[in-house]
Amino acid sequence: MAWQAIKQALQDAGITQRDVGFVSVANVGGWSAEPLPAISINEYAGLTGVGTYRVEAACASGSAALVTAANLVSSGAVDIALAVGVERMNESPTPTAVELIGRAGNYFWEFDMFGLTFPSYYALYATAYMNKYGATEEDLAKISVKNHFYASFNEYAAFRKRVTVDDVLKSRPVAWPLKLLDCSPITDGAAAVVLASEDVARKLTDTPVWIAGVGYGSDTSNLSKRPDFLTLRATRKAAAEAYKKAGVDPSKPVKSFDVVEVHDCFTIAEILAYEDLGFAAPGQGYMLAREGETYKGGLIPVNLDGGLKAKGHPIGATGVSMAAEITKQLRQEVPAERQADIVKGMGLAHNVGGTGHYTYVTIYSLQKPG
């Protein structure tokens, strides 16, 4: 599966395995059999011998692997690095996958004692948010409807079937107030991206996509140690850092971007992201969903590939897949139904690990930064 992605990335860049100086592999694992995925993948893909490692930042592993690969290139350590994300969650039965994702918080105090699941972590945010700001289950459902709609035009999406608000509201409860169709699925998937130095990139392509800025953030392991459940602090910090590096006006970031990928592992997560990335004021994010402002043609188009919700969320692959999607969007290579209008030439990927435990915000641009 990783090979299918690596093959496309190498062919798109017009390079071979011999040109690759490092392979950075994002994978969380546990549910899948291979304990050293970087090594196994490289063997299969004809990359044996190249420097490599596995990177883990939970659901943000893909961005972490991409950023470390980009740093290897920008530091001059290598000319070309490959970032690969892969996850095979269906190698274990669903209750085992639910268990392993639920453990991805604070194991001892929150999982071993109280059985937190990944949906329940975000449900704690949803309950607090809805109570404070008056958002409804219908507002959350609209995120799912939008993302399923765009996934119907994405040949790589796990779910290409459209859903209605009613379908979402009637789907079975997973962790109240979140229901099955508020949740991203357990998914197998892979993505790969080639990162090259300026000199090399100019030789390979006329349309390089630049990384204009990356921001990082993290938060407490125990959810209970956070001051409130209305915002992901890690995203706010990462966004502020990324905007500063890329010269984006933090008071009106929507002006800078044509298209955005946000981490919608659950519908509430996309709404929190609108606010934490500064697209809406605190407590106003759900209004963007309610009014359809994040469809194409709205204030800011979000998750035109179907998002984690409908494209799928193969944990380690997600961040790399976001990079691939923003690259294709900026190059205007996706089907017209889900192609954003590219005017400003900038896009953003927001990738969260765990429940705001890790966050990476990466800004991509058709123009060389600085």
Binding site: F111, F114, S224
Partner: protein, 168 residues
């Protein structure tokens, strides 16, 4: 994994000579791992032993750094701010307000033997939060901001002491 399914795999392995079955979701052939691994971690608690002794007495303890005047809950043995190891053990007074909650319907594999459970977070009078199960018959009685209390009870069927929130 379901016992009857494993028995089916055993039968297929014996009759066909290979542990290959159709995947339940996709129908694609899958190799059923010949090995099985059970994990049970041994977690060191010597430096926070007092917390567990407290549970046996019906008390829930936090730690507090007297220099920084900060509480730690769940308790930790070191203060990372002043590098101090001389934290005080303080019994939580046990009164707080409900901050948020959820009802877990889709449970992890190791929790399938419990009925659906409510996970809640309360802000305690002392200013820190506690996350644990909420004991209430009907979740629709819960209101954010309502007063709650922290109690120690045994969790059944295992019979270990742990802490719960209850409406005041």
């Amino acid at each position: 994994m379901v016992k009857s399914w494993l028995e089916m795999v055993e039968q297929i392995t014996r009759s066909e000579g290979l542990p290959i079955v159709p995947d339940e979701k996709t129908g694609d052939p899958v190799w059923v791992d010949l090995r099985e691994l059970r994990l049970k971690y041994l977690i060191p608690i010597a430096r926070i032993r007092k917390f567990f002794d407290g549970l046996k007495e019906g008390k829930v303890y936090a730690t507090r750094c007297p220099v920084q005047d900060v509480y730690f809950f769940p308790p930790q043995a070191d203060c990372p701010y002043c590098m101090d190891e001389n934290l005080e053990w303080v019994e939580i007074r046990g009164r707080g307000t409900l901050v948020t909650y959820t009802v877990v319907s889709v449970k992890p594999a190791s929790y399938l033997h419990y009925p659906d459970y409510i996970i809640a977070i309360a802000r305690m009078e002392e200013g820190f939060n506690v996350l644990c199960w909420m004991s209430v018959d009907d979740p629709s009685q819960l209101r954010i901001g309502m007063p709650v209390k922290l109690v120690v009870k045994r969790r059944e069927p295992e019979g270990f002491f742990t802490y719960y929130l209850e409406p005041e």
